[in-house]
């Protein structure tokens, strides 16, 4: 079983390699041909050199640390608040119907539009950024939790209830596991979203973090560093996405095993 997974991963990497290599080769040669000013679009080797430099002198790690801390705090807060809230709303459909218009209104209000409000309310420190990410991330988690709970097979609920399960047992033993795939989908969506919002927030008002590094190196006209920070963000996004995918498949495979055993 793990062996199969290993070979599949290997095949995926070998399949992906040609595309990526071609892209890097183009990035290396096209700027040298002189369509663009090479100062604005430096070839890949220069960017890689800049990346290596900021990696070695520790700048990159500091900024990554700051960014990760912000986004993980916002994320944790959202998980703590939005999941129970979503369970509640999904469990009581009338409450959900009552609140839904407001939720839709808030969801349609772009997070970044609220950034100035959060700065006013929470100051220009860390907390306004953490709160911004919390705000952005909670909507996909909340809405997916609600729809996950609403779509739990009624047969499962009736079966559990006929076996005299309490409401609490019903929620923790039936509803939560059954809604989990949908909740996890919300978390994955939220992860992609949080990076976009984080970067924008750090570009608008911050003194550290990857978004700041990007904006600052553009202002200082250190173009290779700028591209290096973009590359870091792309890698971070890919890594996050891949990691969540792995976690999701592992949890799901565990669930599948348990179901097939019993």
């Amino acid at each position: 079983m793990p062996n199969m997974r290993g070979t599949r991963r290997l095949r995926k990497i070998t399949q992906g390699a040609p595309g990526i290599l071609t892209f890097l080769a183009l990035w290396e040669t096209v700027p040298r041909l002189g369509f663009f000013d090479p100062r604005y679009l430096p070839p890949f080797s220069q960017v890689a050199k800049a990346f290596w430099k900021i990696l070695l002198n520790g700048t990159l790690l500091v900024h990554i640390g700051v960014s990760l801390q912000r986004s993980l705090s916002g994320f944790g807060l959202a998980l703590l608040l939005a999941t129970p809230m979503g369970l509640l709303l999904g469990w009581y459909p009338r409450l959900e119907r009552f609140v839904d218009p407001l939720l839709q209104l808030f969801r349609q209000t772009s997070v970044l539009a609220l950034f100035p409000v959060f700065i006013l309310v929470f100051g220009i420190g860390e907390f306004s950024k953490v709160f911004l990410i919390f705000w952005a991330v909670q909507w996909p988690i909340l809405l997916n939790t609600v729809s996950g709970v609403k779509e739990v097979d009624p047969l499962l609920l009736k079966a559990a209830r006929s076996m005299n399960a309490s409401t609490w047992q019903l929620l923790t033993k039936v509803v939560l596991p059954a809604a989990f795939p949908s909740i996890f989908l919300g978390i994955r969506l939220a992860a992609t979203y949080s990076i976009l919002v984080l970067i924008a927030a750090e570009m608008i008002g911050a003194k550290s973090g990857l978004g700041f590094l990007l904006f600052d190196s553009e202002q200082l006209f250190q173009i290779p560093t700028m591209f290096a920070s973009i590359m870091t963000m792309a890698l971070l996004g890919l890594g996050l996405n891949y990691g969540l995918q792995e976690i999701g498949s592992r949890i799901n495979s565990w669930k599948g095993a348990e179901i097939s055993e019993s």
């Binding site: 595309g19 970044l112 309310v121 963000m233 792309a234 996405n241």
Partner: protein, 325 residues
């Protein structure tokens, strides 16, 4: 209740097994927001179900009935949404007043709704709002249209040739994971600080959902349909336009809807970082100049814009009903 995202999931196993599975899961994650919107409009999902399960020929009479029913549902949903919205506005009106009286927080940071509403009316009357709105709409519209024009044909092509798709997929995934905002400085360098850099940024951000859902849409067209058409001696061009395109349309449209929401988010960020006009600039500028009611008025107009765009997209999606006949 089946949602589009789950429907995609349902059709996935039918696909050729050699296709990389990452992109499916990713796309699923991408398509998922549509889920909430659809659940708000149950008539749409049931329509999808019907289309999938049977190929019944329906008369124009019944589609008219559907239309009437849909209108009835919509007005009912408006009536349903009124109480909570009114409650929210009342809270916004009175909580700041009471809190100021009790010295809990300063109402300059959160002025009561009436103050904000007055500011909103002021800028609506003196034309400021219209000026900023038209600039924002112009940018978002241009970028969004460009994304549609480029990404849909490209997605159709890539989805049509699986080898090309397998080759390009890792690069596409990498680009998609690179937040559009990160590339804003690059676009400023390449296209200057004027309008083109913002339009290109919105185009860039909007094109990924469209491209990826178009690819999945084309890939998950039922092979039975293409085989049937081919056995009836249809040319490749005919298969493409008469079978693939209509069958992939729902998936494409989901991508388009996502892109519309996405382009507003990016528009606001771009206007906050570097612009001298537009709604995002209005919000940011009034915060810097500490004109708080004006800032909230800007935020209200942005969320109204978001609601209108979402509603428009849902109505356009409703035009899909011709397909079921």
């Amino acid at each position: 209740m089946t949602s589009i995202a789950q429907e995609q999931l349902g059709t996935l196993p039918r696909k050729p097994s050699h296709a990389p599975e990452t992109s499916n899961a990713d796309l699923l994650a991408y398509l998922a927001p549509a889920q909430h919107d659809l659940s708000a409009f149950p008539e749409k999902t049931s329509r999808l179900d019907r289309r999938q399960t049977s190929v019944e020929i329906r008369s124009s009479v019944s589609s008219f009935q559907d239309f009437v029913m849909a209108v009835g549902k919509r007005s009912r949903s408006v009536a349903q949404s009124a109480p909570i919205i009114i409650l929210f506005l009342l809270a916004w009106e009175f909580v700041p007043r009471i809190a100021t009286r009790l010295d809990l927080f300063d109402s300059t940071f959160l002025p009561p709704f009436s103050t904000v509403f007055r500011a909103f009316c002021e800028i609506a009357v003196d034309g400021t709002l219209l000026k900023h709105l038209s600039v924002s709409l112009g940018r978002a519209g241009a970028g969004f249209l460009l994304a549609n024009v480029v990404a849909i044909p490209l997605g159709l092509l890539i989805g049509w040739f699986p080898a090309v798709e397998r080759f390009l997929d890792p690069v596409l995934q990498t680009f998609r994971q690179t937040a559009a905002m990160a590339l804003f400085p690059v676009f400023i360098l390449l296209f200057g600080i004027g309008e083109p850099s913002k339009v290109v940024l919105i185009y860039w951000g909007a094109q990924w959902p469209i491209l990826l859902s178009t690819i999945t849409g084309v890939k998950s067209v039922d092979p039975l349909l293409t085989k049937a058409a081919r056995s009836m001696n249809a040319s490749t061009l005919q298969i493409f336009f008469k079978v693939i395109l209509p069958a992939a349309f729902p998936a494409i449209f989901t991508g388009v809807r996502l892109a519309a929401t996405h382009s507003i988010l990016i528009l606001i960020a771009a206007e906050m970082i570097g612009a001298d006009r537009g709604l995002g600039y209005l919000v940011y500028d009034s915060q810097v100049r500490f004109e708080i009611p004006l800032m909230y008025a800007g935020i209200i107009s942005l969320s109204l814009l978001g609601l209108v765009v979402n509603y428009l997209m849902i109505s356009i999606d409703g035009l899909n009903s011709w397909k079921k006949g």
